[in-house]
């Protein structure tokens, strides 16, 4: 058993989307949908501004709302904590897409639901997910939360602050945002107006 998780250092991320493009080719994600994307928000007034570049994707929740709603059991949590989909069992009913509060799931044109799987095929070989490997700002850390020596555990310990996306939902995301640039944490969470 392990709990694979990711941490993204927002102080380093510049929102260049290398992660998103790497994911696209690695996982043959069709044009028109994405497994990961960047949310780019500015708050404040000239010249006192904060801009946050925030990559978003499946958070591999500990309590994933997508899993229990699946009528066929094709949505499940692997032993390593990765929330996964078995496309051959998927009937394309979209219940999981509706259940995910983070919009992380999409319908593949071939009629099944898909999303980030932390590049499980790479992780199984001891490699890092494609987005982690390619990131030119080295803002992503990945590994097993239960292993104190994993990259992700080290990154979490060294962070100035750690935020979760919409923690009030109780989903228990295993994707952490480190060092958010705004004093109060992630922007766009409390309905701030963007500028």
């Amino acid at each position: 058993m392990s709990r694979m998780a990711m941490a993204i250092d927002l102080a380093a991320c510049v929102g260049c989307a290398a992660c998103s493009v790497a994911c696209k080719h690695e996982n043959e994600v069709p044009i028109g949908v994405n497994r990961l994307w960047i949310r780019n928000t500015t708050i404040g007034t000239f010249p006192n501004l904060v801009t946050e570049f925030r990559p978003e994707q499946c958070l591999h929740c500990e309590n994933p709302p997508c899993v229990p709603v699946c009528p066929t059991g094709c949505c499940f949590v692997r032993a390593d904590g990765i929330v996964d989909i078995e496309p051959m069992k998927c009937i394309g009913c979209s219940a999981c897409i509706a259940a995910c509060p983070y919009d992380a799931r999409y319908m593949h044109p071939d009629g099944y639901v898909s999303k980030c799987d932390y590049c499980k095929h790479r992780v199984e070989k001891g490699e890092l997910p494609a987005c982690v490997t390619t990131c030119p700002t080295l803002c992503r850390s990945f590994g097993d939360l239960d292993d104190p020596d994993s990259d992700v555990s080290i990154a979490l310990r060294g962070a100035r602050r750690v935020d979760l996306l919409r923690p009030g939902l109780g989903t228990g995301p295993k994707l952490y945002y480190l060092n958010a640039p705004a004093k109060f944490g992630l922007v766009g969470e409390e309905g701030q107006r963007s500028s």
Binding site: V14, A18, V21, T42, F46
Partner: protein, 776 residues
């Protein structure tokens, strides 16, 4: 149902020559039939038989080393590799999207010759064999040579293959009129300033010692938006390490979002700020006196000259408070020599001012004692690999990379280049080739090769360029995509993409100099060919075969690599050979060598050579050109997912950012009644209109300027994804100011007004265009 006349009819045109019966028929896997193409999705590529090969990226000029994964005869994925000092195992979005350019269905496929009697720009072509295309070109070139001389053929190139088309072939043919836009439309001022200050070029990849620096001041330097991979990595690592960042920019750039101080400077006044910093460092005696004493020439003249440039003087010009100017200068000094003001890349901003600004920037660095010191600028040279033995070219080839000088005709029988004498520096100015095509002065330019250069999205005054093309006797375009300017050519030669070809070795000046090689991952698609092959075959047609004394690129590369004890086979296994560098002055002093190749052997504040030429020997601030009332200065920059105007038909990248927007300050937008994301037109001072383009109403920019990212606004119907999206800055650049030192074309002297109420162009989503493209 029977054929009436005879059983079998044989049409000769039905022999296409594509397929033939071989001897390898397998057991009948599909007895009596063929597999049904409409089948469930195949397995993932990474579950198949994947092979990898080495290359270096061509999605931008940074050329990061990459590994290319192929499965089922198709490139599936590219990655950096850690042994390569440029990618260090990582790639930017453009690099990652390389396969989508190779498999872009809009690519050029066959050599094309413009239909006799059709207008240039009308886009009427017929297919030709390579041989026929070369014959056509050679005949026209000989005619130009006989009437006007070899110099009347000009070459422009950009990309790795430009060594063949903007240096070697022009040198063999005998024309000094060969240029790269990467000089006079990009780096020229920084190079001239560098050569005349340090006695060394900046040359290629900015030599900033990011790993050692503690304090960074960026001036108009868009790290994070220009995604120069290595630089971005080191920048991010420096910040993570705790280095402090100050960003000077009229816009709250991505880099500014990471800064502890953002100084929103009034555009075109950067030189005043730099001069004030020089003033503070000297007046407060916080410069590195020991370094200055040991390594520089002309400090007294500089001190006397800079006395006038007080922070209060600069405040009135730059709109940055004098106190802030002083504070930042003191902070820099406190961190020196591990404080650095990195040189940017695209520095042709205001023309008359550009070389002054670059020299002033270098002077601040010298006063901080950081040039050739840890945490400042490191010193680097490209590794040396012998050229392939060949007869000496009639004219030494040097269109100039970013750092090198132009062809000096010297005692040769050739006329100097058409731009000679228009400015002081030694570069060749691509934009200065255009006027002679129209006027014939100082002598006519009647032939043009454009290799990988987008003539309508790089050179200002687009209408003048089109007019010039109409005057030519021969215009050849070598490219990958049917860009608008390509579809004006008399002959179009399709190059294959970098994933399908060998190229020359890439010799990189770096802290650890290195050599990297490119191998084809797959065979060229269609009838496309690599640059080396095109140049060689054309050279042979032109009677220049003696300069290409090798049969193929494998022989050429293997011979070159043998000079350093390597081989093509060995390179195929390792991709990169890394050398040791001499990054710091101490490394040179240990060998009793002086790295500064100036006449004095010192870093020169005061330039005797400028003085002798009647130019300012020390940098000065010149009042910027002002725009008409109601207009905004047009600033432009980069998107992290695009390169120049080159990647705007790449489906994956276009989906990431499918149109640009014009950044407009919130208060100006309120005044004009423009709302966020509304479509507007941009009309420049000469009445040229671009758009519709979305308004990005934002706090992130000053009120006196607007900003768009470069490369959008294609007017090329063949590029089905790029066509008609956003606005083109180049088309709005209907004037430029020539830097009298470097020959650079200052492009930020154009103004636009916002015209609200443009119709929503109803752009289709990229995914829909991709679908429709395959469904006509």
């Amino acid at each position: 149902m029977k054929l009436g006349r005879r059983d079998f009819i044989k049409l000769s045109c039905a022999t296409v020559g594509a397929l033939a019966v071989g001897s390898t028929a397998k057991a009948q896997l599909f007895p009596g039939g063929f597999p049904n193409p409409f089948r469930p999705p195949p397995g993932k590529w990474f579950e198949g038989d994947v092979t990898t090969s080495y290359s270096y990226c061509e999605m931008c000029f940074w050329k990061c080393g990459m590994k290319v994964s192929v499965e089922g005869g198709k490139v599936r994925k590219v990655d950096g590799y850690v042994e390569n000092p440029k990618s260090r195992g990582m790639l930017c979005p453009r690099g990652q999207a390389a396969p989508a350019t190779t498999y872009d269905p809009d690519r050029l496929k066959k050599p094309l010759i413009r239909v006799e009697g059709s207008e240039r720009g009308a886009g009427q072509y017929r297919e030709a064999s390579w041989d026929e295309a070369f014959d056509y070109i050679a005949e026209k070139m000989f005619a130009i040579r006989d009437e006007h001389g070899t110099e009347s053929v000009a070459f422009m190139g950009h990309g790795t293959g430009d060594e063949w088309f903007a240096s070697y072939l022009p040198g063999a043919w005998g024309t000094p009129n060969a240029a790269k836009p990467s000089v006079s439309l990009c780096t020229a001022p920084r190079e001239t300033a560098s050569v005349y200050t340090f006695g060394r070029g900046i040359a290629g990849h900015e030599q900033i010692d990011w790993d050692e620096t503690d304090y960074i001041v960026l001036i108009g330097h868009h790290i994070g938006e220009d995604t120069h991979n290595t630089q971005l990595q080191q920048f991010a690592q420096a910040l993570t390490r705790g280095a402090e960042l100050v960003v000077v920019d009229p816009r709250f750039s991505v880099a500014a979002a990471k800064a502890k101080d953002w100084l929103p400077i009034k555009p075109a006044t950067d030189t005043a700020l730099l001069l004030a910093w020089i003033n503070v460092l000297i007046e407060e005696e916080i410069y590195d006196a020991e370094y200055v004493e040991k390594y520089t020439l002309g400090f007294e003249q500089l001190a006397e000259h800079a006395a006038q440039y007080t922070p209060e003087w600069a405040e009135a010009i730059t709109e940055i408070p004098a106190d802030t100017i002083r504070r930042i200068a003191r902070e820099m000094a406190a961190h020196a020599p591990r404080a650095v003001l990195p040189v940017g890349r695209h520095v042709v901003w205001y023309g008359h001012d550009d070389s002054h600004r670059m020299r002033a920037l270098y002077f601040v660095n010298i006063l901080l004692g950081n040039y050739g010191m840890p945490g400042g600028y490191f010193l680097c040279d490209a590794p040396i690999v012998d050229t392939f033995p060949a007869p000496e070219l009639p004219l030494a080839p040097a269109a100039g990379g970013c750092g090198s000088g132009p062809v000096e005709v010297g005692d040769s029988p050739f006329r100097p280049s058409v731009d000679r004498g228009k400015f002081f520096g030694t570069a060749t100015s691509v934009q200065e080739f255009i006027e002679p095509m129209i006027t014939g002065e100082p002598y006519p330019v009647k032939g043009l090769f454009a290799y990988g250069v987008n003539l309508f999205h790089s050179i200002p005054m687009v209408e003048r360029t089109k007019e010039a093309l109409r005057h030519l006797d021969l215009y050849v375009a070598i490219d990958i995509l049917p860009m608008e300017h390509v579809m004006w050519a008399d002959v179009i030669l399709p190059e294959c993409t970098f994933l399908e070809r060998h190229d020359d070795l890439n010799l990189v000046a770096h802290k650890t100099p290195f050599i990297q090689a490119r191998f084809p991952a797959v065979e060229p698609m269609y009838d496309s060919k690599p640059a080396w092959w095109i140049a060689r075959e054309l050279g042979i047609k032109l009677g220049l075969g003696e300069y290409f004394p090798w049969e193929d690129i494998e022989e050429y590369l293997d011979r070159r690599l043998s000079s350093i004890g390597s081989s093509l086979e060995a390179m195929a296994e390792q991709g990169t050979i890394v050398r040791r560098g001499r990054p710091y002055i101490a490394d040179w002093e240990r060998l009793n060598r002086n790295p500064f190749d100036t006449p004095s052997g010192q870093l020169e504040f005061y330039s005797e050579r400028f003085a002798e030429a009647g130019l300012d020997p020390l940098p000065v601030f010149i009042d910027p050109m002002e725009g008409p009332s109601g207009y905004y200065r047009l600033l432009y920059g980069r998107s992290p997912v695009h390169t120049f105007a080159r990647t705007h038909n790449n489906a994956v990248l276009m989906e990431m950012e499918s149109e640009n927007s014009v950044w407009l300050n919130t208060r100006e937008a309120e005044r004009l009644g423009v709302s966020h994301l509304e479509y507007v037109y941009l009309e420049n001072q000469d009445g040229v209109v671009e758009g519709p383009v979305r308004a990005n109403v934002t706090e992130r920019i000053r009120q006196d300027c607007v900003y768009i990212t470069h490369g959008y606004g294609h007017k090329a119907p063949l590029m089905k994804l790029a066509n008609g999206r956003g606005a083109s800055d180049t088309h709005l650049q209907t004037r430029y100011d020539l830097d009298p030192y470097s020959g650079g074309a200052g492009l930020r002297n154009n103004w636009v007004r916002i015209v609200p109420g443009a119709p929503d162009p109803q752009h289709k989503p990229i995914a829909q265009l991709v679908r429709e493209r395959s469904q006509a």
